[in-house]
């Protein structure tokens, strides 16, 4: 009881309080002084950029298959079906084993970057890339067409259509012969 009283007196001793206050004040001043000279963490954004993490969900891209000289996309619309906000529309090109797309449009004005289309794709065709500066003053700038999305751009789209058309034509050429052969065989 007596001890506690003494402790309390100690705590409310004005000189102890003053010394304590001054000490903490000067310690605080030391902390801010040190902070003044520490390296700054600011990234001056328009002039400097931080690297984007590898799994960043930025602008979509359609994967280019160098070996087959075409885009991986076969136009199956699984991504369009998976999309909760109807971002994706596409025009299918060719059919069967050589199926692809001639048009692939994404209206990112509706996109919420949920990654569901990427997860739905069984052909490794659509991915989310590192580009993130997608804001614009125009509404139609949010609509990205196939040339904007394909890896390799306009050139890749052209080659993609060429390859698919060539393969389809080859198949078409081989088909009547095969059909004829099988017909002949049957008769």
């Amino acid at each position: 009881m007596v001890k506690r009283h003494a402790a309390e007196q100690e705590r409310y001793n004005p000189f102890v309080m003053l010394a304590d206050g001054l000490l903490t004040l000067f310690y605080g001043m030391l902390v801010t002084w040190r902070n003044l000279w520490r390296p700054k963490i600011t990234v001056r954004y328009p002039y400097e950029r931080r690297p984007v993490p590898p799994r960043y969900r930025g602008l979509f891209y359609l994967k280019w298959n160098e070996e087959k000289q075409r885009l991986n996309c076969v136009g199956c619309t699984l991504c369009a079906q998976a999309c909760p906000t109807d971002v994706i529309t596409m025009v299918k090109l060719g059919k069967g084993t050589h199926a692809g797309v001639s048009e692939f449009t994404m209206d990112l004005g509706r996109c919420m970057f949920c990654n569901l289309c990427v997860e739905a794709c069984p052909f490794d065709a659509i991915y989310m890339g590192p580009a993130y500066e997608l804001a614009s003053e125009r509404r139609d700038a949010a609509v990205f067409r196939i040339a904007d999305l394909a890896q390799g751009g306009e050139e890749a789209v052209r080659k993609n259509i060429e390859t698919i058309q060539r393969l389809m034509a080859e198949e078409e050429k081989a088909k009547p012969a095969a059909a004829h052969a099988s017909e002949g065989h049957a008769s």
């Binding site: 605080g28 001043m29 801010t32 902070n35 390296p39 700054k40 600011t42 001056r44």
Partner: protein, 328 residues
């Protein structure tokens, strides 16, 4: 050429006064631009940021751009405001600041008005600033503004006394109320700060100056986290700019006053006097900013108790100490 101009102004003293007034008023409007820029830089650096970097080299034109923006902004008067006082308050704040600058010697001969009671004059006109704050707080018809204004008055009442008492110690030492004479005394006899009673007086002055210009930890009249922006909450456009300018010009002035009283004003080797004056002022302004980002804000009752129970007795004792040492 210079002689012709000089003789012209000697013949027309009123015109010369007008020129000096214009120069001083412009200086009072311009100096906040520099002080605010430094403030923002120091604040940024202490918080591991860079501060303004975008406008001009190293962001130096940022405050100029801000001032231009404020000039162009709409001037809004809140409904139910006491219009006369609402309009008048910023001008009183600004005029009180210009008046204090009037008697401040920047360098030998660089003083707008040589006054033999300059110290008394400064302590007098700096009071007007608080009158304007109360006017602004009262006339805004806003609870936050009113609370800010009331706090400003309570704070001034408690801090003006120890401040005057600490200035009085310097006056005792130098035997003059003229700022020019005080500085010239220090040029001859060494800075006042080296005398023990003046050192204590300078510390008291420093604390009171923080309270006088409403800076953390005594920034109660404009405590952002509780009073929105305090007494100037309802102000916008150029009137707000005037309040802001007068606040930061006051910041400059109170350190310049301290430099004149304690640190020998323009006294210093090699560099020209005006440079020394500004050097001392900006070092002290830096310390003010440094303090601003360190201790948290006090409560109003803590502030008043600290003033009345701590600083007033201390400054009185210090005055007795100075007298006991038998100066001059």
């Amino acid at each position: 050429m210079i002689e012709a101009v000089a003789s012209f102004f000697v013949q027309h003293p009123l015109l010369w006064t007008f020129v000096k007034a214009v120069v001083l008023a412009s200086f009072t409007l311009m100096i906040p631009l520099a002080v605010i820029y430094i403030e923002r830089k120091v604040a940024g650096y202490i918080q591991s940021r860079l501060g303004p970097v975008h406008v001009g080299p190293q962001g130096t034109f940022q405050t100029v751009a801000d001032a231009l923006k404020l000039l162009l902004k709409e001037d809004i008067v809140p409904t139910g405001a006491d219009r006369r006082f609402f309009y008048l308050a910023p001008y009183i704040a600004f005029i009180s600041t210009v008046l204090s600058f009037m008697v401040l010697p920047f360098a030998p001969g660089w003083v707008a008005l040589e006054m033999n009671v300059a110290v008394l004059f400064v302590l007098g006109v700096s009071l007007f600033n608080v009158v304007s704050i109360l006017m602004a707080g009262w006339s805004s018809n806003n609870k936050y503004s009113l609370l800010g204004g009331l706090r400003a008055v309570a704070q001034l009442l408690s801090y003006e006394i120890p401040m005057v008492l600490s200035v009085l110690v310097v006056v005792f030492y130098t035997g003059s109320l003229s700022l020019t004479e005080i500085i010239e005394y220090q040029v001859k006899h060494g800075w006042n700060i080296w005398h023990p009673p003046v050192l204590i007086a300078a510390l008291i002055y420093f604390i009171c100056a923080l309270a006088e210009i409403n800076r953390t930890p005594f920034d109660l009249p404009e405590a952002e986290s509780e009073l929105v922006s305090g007494f100037n909450t309802e102000y916008s456009g150029m009137r707000f700019a005037l309040f802001f300018a007068s606040e930061f010009a006051n910041n400059f002035f109170i350190t310049a006053f301290a430099a004149a009283l304690f640190f020998g004003g323009w006294d210093g080797p090699i560099l020209p006097p005006i440079v020394w004056m500004f050097l001392k002022v900006f070092v002290m302004i830096f310390v003010f900013m440094w303090v601003r980002w360190t201790p948290p804000r006090l409560r109003i009752d803590q502030i008043l108790r600290f003033a009345w129970q701590g600083l007033v007795p201390l400054s009185l004792l210090n005055l007795l100490f100075a007298i006991a040492l038998g100066v001059r």
